[in-house]
C-alpha cells in the first residue's frame, strides 16, 4: 500500500511539473497577452492541483491533507477569476491582438477580426 501510494504520488508530481513547465514554454511561444493568459490560467492551475494532490498522498496527517486539498480547491476556484479580470483589463487598455485572432467578443461591436 505504501509503495502504491508512493508510485501514484510520484506520477502526479511528475505530471504537475510537466504542466508547469508547459506553462513557461507557452509564455515564450504563444503570440499575444490573451494566449499567455490561456497558458498561465489553464495548465498552471492543473499543474498546481496535481502537485498538491501528489503531496497529499504522501502525508499521513489529516490536518495537512486538508490544507493541501483546500489549497488545490482555492487554486481551481480563483484562477479563472483572475485570468478573466486580467484579460478584460488588458483588452480595456488596448493590448495588441495577434494576427491569429478569430473573434473579438469584447469589441464594440463584437466582430470577427478580418
Amino acid at each position: 500500500m505504501e509503495t502504491a501510494l508512493a508510485i501514484a504520488s510520484g506520477i502526479l508530481l511528475l505530471a504537475g511539473t510537466a504542466l508547469t513547465v508547459t506553462t513557461v514554454i507557452g509564455l515564450y511561444r504563444l503570440p499575444d497577452i490573451y494566449a499567455w493568459m490561456h497558458a498561465a490560467t489553464k495548465s498552471a492551475t492543473l499543474g498546481i492541483a496535481l502537485c498538491l494532490i501528489g503531496a497529499a498522498l504522501r502525508v499521513d496527517d489529516v490536518a495537512v491533507v486538508t490544507k493541501l486539498l483546500l489549497a488545490a480547491v482555492f487554486q481551481l476556484a480563483t484562477a479563472p477569476v483572475s485570468g478573466h479580470l486580467l484579460g478584460r483589463a488588458a483588452h480595456d487598455t488596448g493590448a495588441a491582438q495577434s494576427i491569429y485572432t478569430v473573434m473579438d467578443d469584447l469589441g464594440d461591436p463584437p466582430s470577427p477580426r478580418d
Binding site: T17, V21, V24, Y28, I33, A44, L85, T93
Partner: protein, 86 residues
Amino acid sequence: MIVVAGICLTALVLSAALCLVRVWRADGLADRAVALDTVTATIVSGIAVGIAVTGDGIYADIALVLGLLGFLATVAISRFMARRGP
C-alpha cells in the same frame, strides 16, 4: 522518491528562472502580471514537491497562503490597470 523530487525541483527552478527573465523583459503591465502569476504557481508546486519528499506538513500553510496571495495580487494589478491604463 528522491529521484522524482530531484527531477521535479530542477525543472521547477529552471521554469521559475525563465519566468523571472520574462518579468524582467516584459513589455507591459499585463505581461508582467501573467509572468509573476506563473512564478507564484511554480513556487507553490515546488512547496508541494518538498512536502511530498520530506513528509513534513509544516509548509502546507505557506502553499495555501501563497496561492491566495497570488490571486489577490493579480486582481489588484488588473484593477489598477483598469483605472490607470497599461
